[in-house]
């Protein structure tokens, strides 16, 4: 592209010698963004080019369209789903929604943090920061839960070590060496401190 621009500049200098090589002069009086666009006949070789130029062909214009299309319109509000597990509700709503997910109900310490977080509105930054903190606590709880069920988690396997071995063996060796060096260094430091 740089080369294209240089060639265009040279051509402009030859066309307009009165500018004394000042091609910017021509650019500044003749802004034309469209001049880099290929002619229409070239563009029309691209499959479908311009087929949605007409706004009538654009499915989201106007942005708000009533009545809604493409769905089976039901009468009234949806029937309320029965609540069988604890589900949190944003304080910025009047109550629970008619439909909701029931995956992974809150539990343990992370559940308690999340319970607190959902007492705060979404507009309060602490709401989101507490949820992120709960996620990290939940990660540790996940390992404890695995062990509780007699399952030792294959952490490296879960991180895709087999793919790393196949597609980036050199990188894997490098990461292993760095990890060993860091862990070894920390252990040496700790031993020294214990000696004194």
């Amino acid at each position: 592209m740089e080369n294209d621009i240089a060639q265009r500049d040279l051509a402009e200098q030859r066309r307009h010698p009165q500018h004394h090589g000042h091609v910017d002069y021509e650019r500044q009086i003749d802004y034309d963004l469209k001049r880099h666009s290929p002619p229409r006949e070239d563009l029309q070789r691209i499959p479908g080019w311009g087929s949605d130029l007409d706004h009538k062909n654009r499915p989201a214009i106007p942005m708000e369209r009533t009545p809604p299309r493409f769905i089976h319109v039901t009468q009234g509000q949806p029937v309320q789903q029965a609540q069988t597990v604890e589900v949190f509700c944003s304080p910025e709503r009047p109550g629970i929604t008619p439909i909701f997910g029931t995956a992974q109900p809150p539990k343990w310490v992370s559940g308690a943090i999340r319970r607190l977080a959902y007492k705060l509105p979404e507009n309060d930054l602490r709401h989101w920061l507490m949820l992120l903190a709960a996620d990290r606590v939940n990660m540790v709880e996940g390992i404890v839960d695995d062990l509780r069920h007699g399952h030792v988690p294959n952490v490296l396997g879960e991180m895709g070590i087999r793919a790393e071995l196949r597609h980036n063996p050199a990188g894997l060796v490098r990461k292993a060496l760095i990890t060993t060096a860091v862990v070894g260094g920390v252990m040496v430091l700790l031993k020294r401190r214990a000696r004194y």
Binding site: L53, E64, P68, C89, I99, L165
Partner: protein, 394 residues
């Protein structure tokens, strides 16, 4: 059933979980035949989305066969082949009545800032997703779309999110004939946004990324110009040079919160989470668009805040439009484009992986190994599709 099981940042596995059940008379249970890994799944996988609970099943791009329907379901029957838009929506709330299906107010109790989404944390409603053998599909009369016989599953699964999102990104950019459109991001959504920009009559389409194999792919697939931002110095300056010093008519952010390219954004957005992800692409989009141009955002950001040059946006008179794609609004139109040969979505699929290898599939997609662009997971009970799955580790 076998399902993906999130265990913490960068850790995921496939394990057995109880089958989903009908919890509401409007529900259906769908047997999944294909489920994609979406770029936005990586935000979950990397632990950036608040309230992503251990044990969660990801997956909001899936197609399958209806296995069971609730007592109130009228339009679907057992055996129907359906694509399921990534958004859950009721069809009757204030927003659904205006066709804003991605902004439904009746499917996410946990937040008003976002609608319900399958397999995308409890911030979007706490629904398990489709990277599993079976999935609960609420509002079965409203969301799922019966796949026409002439549309293959590989195309249909991309109609659940990636293609409509790319198409809506181009539509929100309000492209006029001959416009110069810059797309930030050469992932699946950016690729489809670039391809869609031509449908709206663009005169130039330029895609910006730093992953060479993806730039090579999009240059061929979407017949566009490409910029590797690692090779050009300042991106906004480079784009100004390419556009007679005006800037592009429209810029599309198809990257979101895990952008590369700015150390300060990476440190504050990705490493220390002092902001809701690295907003590098949006920053560049605002500074690269011309005055009174359009910026369209479909890249996903977190719910807190981001450092972007909003003062420049004001002073330049930029129009900014953004939303999650209202998938079902676009599907019939996009099916026509597929039929006419304007779009061939399945060509971007690079990996078909058995669900059992989900840990490795995520790692490959996240690390951009093996020229990976789009990964499809195929569960054990997917039927004939299972034969197309190939191991990524053997």
């Amino acid at each position: 059933m076998l399902a993906t099981n999130y265990r913490g940042p960068y850790r995921i596995r496939a394990s057995q979980k109880p089958d989903p059940v009908i919890e509401h008379p409007g529900d259906a249970i769908v047997r999944v035949t294909r489920a994609c890994i979406c770029g936005s799944d990586l935000h979950l996988y990397h632990g950036l989305v608040p309230d992503t609970r251990i044990g969660h099943t990801f997956g909001h791009e899936f197609v399958g066969i209806v296995e069971e329907v609730g007592s109130a379901v009228e339009t679907l029957k057992v055996g129907d082949r359906v694509l399921v838009p990534f958004n859950l929506f009721c069809g009757s709330c204030f927003f659904c009545q205006r066709e804003l299906y991605s902004n439904c107010h009746n499917t996410n109790p946990e937040a008003t800032a976002v609608g319900g989404i399958y397999g995308y944390s409890h911030t979007t409603g706490g629904y398990d997703g489709g990277q599993a053998e079976f999935v609960r599909v609420p509002m079965a009369d409203v969301g799922p779309y019966k796949i026409p016989e002439d549309i293959v599953d590989d195309d249909a699964v991309l109609l659940t999110d990636a293609l409509p999102t790319g198409y809506q990104a181009a539509e929100m950019a309000d492209i006029h004939e001959g416009d110069t459109v810059v797309v930030f991001g050469a992932g699946p959504v950016g690729i489809f946004a670039a391809k869609s920009a031509w449908l709206f009559g663009a005169g130039r389409v330029i895609v910006v990324d730093h992953v060479d194999y993806r730039l090579d792919f999009v240059r061929r697939y979407a017949q566009c110009e490409v910029i590797n931002f690692r090779e050009v110095g300042d991106v906004a300056l480079h784009i100004k040079k390419m556009t007679d010093w005006l800037g592009a008519d429209a810029c599309i952010d198809a990257v979101g919160c895990e952008a590369s390219g700015s150390l300060s954004q990476t440190i504050t957005g990705r490493w220390t989470m002092l902001q809701a992800g690295a907003a590098t692409a949006l920053f560049w989009a605002i500074n690269s668009v011309r005055k009174a141009g359009n910026v369209s955002i479909v890249g996903v950001y977190g719910p807190t805040f981001n450092a972007v040059p909003i003062g420049n946006a004001l002073n330049k008179g930029i129009t900014m439009r953004m939303n999650q794609a209202a998938v079902k609004r676009h599907v019939p139109h996009l099916i026509e484009h597929i039929r006419q040969g304007h779009l061939n979505p399945k060509e971007i699929i690079t990996h078909r992986v058995p669900l059992e290898e989900v840990s490795d599939a995520y790692h490959i997609f996240s690390s951009k190994y093996d020229n990976c662009i789009k990964t499809v997971l195929i569960p054990p009970r997917a039927g004939a599709a299972r034969a197309t799955a190939g191991s990524v580790i053997h």
